[in-house]
Point group: C2
Amino acid sequence: MKKTLAVDMDEVLAGYTKKVLETLQHETGIQIELKTVEGNFLSKSLDPQLVEIVSSYPYRKGFFRDLEVIPGSQHALESLSDDYDILIVSACMQHPNSLNDKLSWLNEYFPFIPFQKIIFCGEKKFISADYMIDDHPRHLETFKGIPLLFTAFHNINESRFRRFEDWHGLEKFLLNQGH
Amino acid sequence: MKKTLAVDMDEVLAGYTKKVLETLQHETGIQIELKTVEGNFLSKSLDPQLVEIVSSYPYRKGFFRDLEVIPGSQHALESLSDDYDILIVSACMQHPNSLNDKLSWLNEYFPFIPFQKIIFCGEKKFISADYMIDDHPRHLETFKGIPLLFTAFHNINESRFRRFEDWHGLEKFLLNQGH
């Protein structure tokens, strides 16, 4: 039986923060360099007024529809699907308008993932799989399988989980695990 | 720690088939009595032409927004939430337009269920919980906890799972389990 790999969306498959910062700059002229806020969430690093602005973006209809695909993720998931049951697991229930956008986005960029393997939830602790790849330590903390951390600006100081900087390394690691 | 109870939506919390048959009658004049199709899914009982019609309904925007609440379910879930972590689990990913309607419907009729406890998926076999209440045997078959069958017209001949005819009996059973 294939092992199950639960894959997160934002920051792992989709460039969420990139769009947040681009939108902020476009709409307010304020430019934030990711380098200057590394090691924490934007909600902890930015001024309260900016936090309020950027926190409103994921509630917008269409916001998640045109996120950039994280480099290498399409190739990796397609190649890993021979050895793994790929499960897309996104904790997006907090943002009602994201659901349809996320589903359409997946259908466009990851058409080889069938609807049976897509899960939208509020928390990931009820999801059972063999591996979970995520940029959020809180999801990996409650996971009962093997946790894999995907590097993102906010998690660079996290040291509890095996870390992957990109899909190239992750794909190689998982292909070796499969055999 | 509270035990987790995974609760299905259609036919368990929401009167899906009732609306399907009402819509069919309203739009085509064809009246189907549930009694006459008991023991099987509509897709197996009706003429192919009718199957095509009723299978298109769940793709409609708004179809799931005004389903009737199954009697006793609100009271039962509210009272059970003292003893159980209530998780709503709906296999609705096949019907993209249902996602927002289902979330709005839950927020309206089950406002005490937080977004953290709502899961929309394609298959339920990746969901881990202590109990699962569902009208579909296929979801109970792959469940690793204690499966509970909620009676629906299509499952009356199913004998593999503990069966509940309504929320009154289910609530009583679960309250006793909790202590």
